[in-house]
């Protein structure tokens, strides 16, 4: 049983050892000195059959409460959007998911063409000139975009980031910059958005880039056009982290002159899955193409003049440039780029617009219903897309616990990231939420608040 996936029979082993000229398998490990050998079995649990494993995993899964169990109003960078079945059907093709990086173009045209299509779809989505074949996820994509900006501008002085950018993305960026002598300055957003006057005061000739999120972590819209203009006036780059779904309605990063646009691509057809694998989206102006991190697929012709695709611009990459590479990344999130490509083409322009409209209208309806509850008010007076912040006149974590027992994940307590928002809750509403679910949420919140007094 423990040899579940091994095909070598005892007879095979004998023949193979004879061909090798070794007396035993153990002899093949002669290179490993006895002094460093492990002289006992590994201390891990004994082998399980598929049936036993399935039972065990089901019992673990039963101890979780996912979005199928509770009505999900959790957001903060990962969302319960609907995934059309075509996405799973295509991503479930094992010719895609059991292949690897398309080093041999002739044996990988399927993946290569799908990535070329993904790159095109991301350009169409964002209005940017070029996109790579994806990065790990939203947070490290912000860090990679900033490293790009530092390289492009040659400015190692400072990087400005808005406090309304996802707190975990900011933590990732701080980690990446900690050893590179680049100062990271976080601009406070007490009113739930970045005030253009604040950035005007902070940006200078040593600023590599200004980083904002739009819609921001609180769901609110930023003054992206003004912010971009302010950054550009000092020849700093403008980096934006966007929500792909929002672009069904909102202006695209290319339209407001973003230099580098990044995103968490989970909402393009990837399940929540407790945080990953997700999809890092990165697109930029074409003049920066040789500074892009990660894999890029290009169109070319083969020796017979036939159109085809291959990995390209590899001289940027670590396997050639080693310590001078633009990044250490040597993979993309191929399977999730494929999911995003299928998702975007399944929706098309009208489907994306309609999804965004449903999110927008559902979220505003939810906000209106929640503020009708005594003890709930909107925290910020900003236009928002699919997420918003409410202030409660009660203990946030106690309220969340009560509402959970009623079958709702009502939102995220913001106190863990923002000391000034201990009393506040971030509520996300996708196209999947119905009027009935929203009404029931408001009723459950009302009941919980009333019972708490």
């Amino acid at each position: 049983m423990s040899d579940a996936y091994i095909l070598n029979t005892l007879g095979d082993r004998k023949q193979m050892l004879a061909k090798i000229g070794a007396a035993s398998v153990d002899e093949l490990f002669a290179m490993v000195p006895a002094s460093v050998r492990l002289k006992r079995p590994l201390n891990i649990p004994p082998a399980l059959s598929e049936m036993e494993l399935s039972q065990h995993m089901r019992s673990l899964a039963a101890r979780n409460r996912g979005a199928g169990d509770r009505i999900c109003f959790l957001g903060g960078g990962a969302y319960d959007h609907f995934i059309p079945s075509v996405v799973d059907a295509i991503a479930g093709r094992s010719e895609f998911y059991t292949a690897y990086t398309p080093y041999q173009a002739e044996a990988s045209q399927g993946s290569l063409q799908a990535f070329f299509e993904y790159q095109t779809l991301i350009c169409q989505l964002t209005g940017m000139d070029v996109a790579n074949a994806s990065l790990y996820e939203g947070g490290s994509s912000v860090a990679e975009a900033v490293l790009m900006a530092v390289n492009i501008t040659g400015r190692k002085g400072k990087v400005l980031i808005s406090e309304s950018v996802h707190p975990e993305y900011r933590q990732v960026l701080a980690t990446y910059l900690a050893n590179l002598h680049v100062e990271l300055i976080t601009l406070p957003t007490p009113n739930g958005f970045l005030d253009p006057d604040d950035i005007k005061r902070a940006v200078d000739d040593q600023t590599a880039c200004v980083v904002v999120q739009h819609p921001n972590f609180f769901g609110g819209l930023e003054e992206v056009e003004s912010l971009a203009a302010i950054a550009h006036a000092r020849k700093s780059l403008f980096v934006v982290s966007f929500d792909p779904i929002s672009l069904g309605l909102l202006k695209r990063p290319g339209q407001y002159e973003a230099d580098i646009a990044v995103a968490e691509g989970q909402n393009l057809g990837t399940p929540l899955g407790y945080g990953g694998p997700y999809l890092g989206v990165l697109a930029c102006r074409k003049e920066f193409v040789r500074q892009i991190p990660g894999r890029i697929v290009g169109q070319t012709v083969d020796r017979n003049g036939q159109r085809c695709w291959a990995l390209t611009l590899q001289t940027r990459e670590q396997h050639i440039r080693r310590e001078k590479a633009t990044s250490n990344i040597c993979t993309n999130q191929g399977l999730f780029a494929l999911r995003a490509a299928v998702y975007l083409s399944a929706l098309g322009p009208q489907g994306l617009k309609q999804t965004a409209e449903l999110c927008l209208r559902n979220a505003h309806y939810a906000a209106a219903e929640l503020v009708k509850v005594s003890g709930v008010e909107l925290r910020f007076q900003r236009p928002f897309f699919k997420e918003f912040v409410v202030r409660l006149n009660a203990d946030v974590s106690r309220l969340l616990t009560k509402v959970r027992t009623a079958g709702f994940d009502a939102g995220l307590a913001l106190g863990r990231w923002y000391g000034n928002l201990n009393d506040s809750l971030l509520v996300a509403v996708t196209e999947k939420r119905t009027r009935g679910e929203i009404d029931e949420l408001a009723a459950a919140v009302g009941k919980a608040l009333a019972s708490g007094k």
């Binding site: 002739e106 980690t175 694998p277 083969d302 291959a310 322009p349």
Partner: protein, 481 residues
């Protein structure tokens, strides 16, 4: 059999008005002007418009233009392309796992947290190290994370002048690239004639400026560093740390442990060693394991167990912070967990025994015809050289690689490691049968007898042949327009 729906681009298939995914009508009251006019786009993005059957045919036909583990032997050296069990795919889709929000509270995630806690323990045990962070998204990010940890450790000790990372010349390119990103200078260490670390060169470059020695063991030539204990002692005596690049863990599971041979930290490629499907280039998952003295610097959160309850521990004041958002590439960790539970301790050891047996068998079958510069024996992979073929017959490693595709075999890794000329790096993995290895060896031996001009035009049966990569890079076309 072929149709144009695969080679045509989605955008060329697009017809205004076609659609695949339909949405319900909005059931909440209509309100106008929810968004300021200045923020709104005039029109939605110009995405393609395709119907469902066209979309399905397009991508399904594209999938048939790939080689994959499920369709072909895939001996891509250094990538450990072993079989990806189907049970993992089914179990990963379980409700409660696939639909669990990353910011769900700990009480709603007890099953997931138990799995991740146990995975931390398994990886610690397999490495012989003390603490594990599952956060890094890929091997390269694991390496980078470990170097961030090393930098924080030396800073904390007031020893921040250690700015050098020593890297063997046979190492993966990610090693020096990660070193630069973590603010270190990398210094190259030579290999000796046997393909192992040149100890004299290492000694001459080791001093009080050395922070970390990054070593891949078994190394990229498929050889185990027999002097590893002496090497790690030397590094420790100089106050430096030893990082093990865990790329080749498939060779040593249950045989030897990096912690036992002196490594202070290592990364895993869960997608390789513990068989996450490679997804045509990702996702991976690159957890790191470290000794106790480095544990305080690991990224937060870790999973801890208190009584019978599991929780995420964010209270780690010396932590380097985060390297990605949310917990990690959980879907791959999940599959790795299923694999470890399926195999158990004996099964894991059997993986390495059979991986090494298969590699040595293949080596024995071809070494008399195709030169293998570094020896008669190997661990889980070996590196052959087409250098003699090039000088004698004008056959390059790339020609052999391309021609193998015609025989239905994916090519080995070529031109890596850099220390072998015309390298063909072959890793059969343990999940292949003797018959497959025999067929591969036969193809290889037949190919090197073929006419050079014919090989230079290979492959001959795959629809396309030899994309013009120079043109692709010189006049980049990176999107349809």
């Amino acid at each position: 059999m072929n149709n144009t729906q695969s080679t045509e681009l989605l955008f060329e298939m697009s017809r205004p008005g076609r659609r695949c995914h339909m949405l319900p009508d909005c059931d909440v009251p209509a309100v106008v002007d929810l968004l300021p006019a200045s923020a709104r786009a005039d029109a939605p993005p110009p995405l393609p418009e395709v119907g469902e059957i066209d979309l399905i045919r397009h991508f399904t036909n594209l999938s048939t233009r790939n080689m994959s583990i499920d369709t072909n032997f895939y001996p891509l050296g250094s990538c450990t392309m072993k079989y990806n069990p189907k049970r993992h795919e089914r179990l990963a889709a379980l409700p409660g796992m696939a639909d669990l929000h990353p910011l769900a509270d700990d009480d709603s995630s007890q099953g997931m947290l138990q799995l991740l806690f146990e995975m931390q323990q398994f990886l610690a045990e397999i490495s012989g190290l003390d603490a594990v962070s599952l956060q890094p998204a890929a091997g390269a990010q694991g390496e980078l994370t470990a170097l961030f940890v090393a930098a924080a450790y030396f800073r904390d000790r007031g020893d921040a002048e250690r700015k050098r990372v020593l890297v063997p010349d046979s190492a993966h390119g990610t090693n020096p690239a990660s070193a630069s990103l973590a603010g270190f200078q990398s210094v190259q260490i030579k290999s000796n004639a046997k393909g192992l670390v040149d100890l004299d060169d290492l000694k001459s470059k080791l001093d009080e400026r050395t922070a970390v020695f990054m070593i891949t063991n078994p190394n990229t030539l498929g050889l185990f560093e027999g002097q590893i204990a002496a090497i790690t002692e030397m590094l420790h005596a100089a106050g430096a740390l030893v990082y093990l690049d865990g790329a080749n863990m498939n060779a040593i599971l249950g045989i030897t442990r990096p912690g036992d041979f002196g490594a202070d930290m290592q990364h895993y490629n869960v997608h390789k060693t513990f068989t996450g499907p490679h997804g045509a280039g990702g996702p991976g998952s690159g957890p790191i394991a470290v000794r106790n003295n480095l544990a305080p610097y690991l990224p937060a959160p870790l999973v801890v167990k208190e009584g019978e309850r599991y929780r995420l521990d964010f209270d780690r004041p010396k932590s380097i912070g985060r390297v990605r958002s949310f917990f990690g590439n959980v879907g791959i960790l999940y599959r790795g967990y299923c694999y470890i539970r399926t195999l158990g301790p004996d099964g894991l050891k059997s993986i390495s025994e059979n991986a090494v047996l298969n590699a040595n068998y293949l080596l024995a079958k071809i070494k008399h015809t195709l030169e293998v510069p570094h020896g008669d024996r190997c661990m889980h992979e070996f590196v052959a050289s087409a250098h003699k073929l090039l000088t004698q017959k004008k056959i390059r490693a790339m020609d052999i690689a391309k021609r193998l595709l015609d025989f239905g075999f994916h090519a080995p890794t070529v031109y890596f490691p850099l220390v072998v000329r015309e390298a063909l790096m072959i890793e059969p993995t343990e999940t292949e049968s003797k018959e497959t290895l025999d067929a591969f060896a036969a193809a290889l031996l037949r190919i090197i007898e073929e006419d050079a001009a014919f090989l230079q035009q290979a492959p001959h049966s795959l629809g396309i042949s030899r994309p013009d990569e120079v043109k692709a890079a010189k006049e980049p076309i990176l999107r349809w327009s």
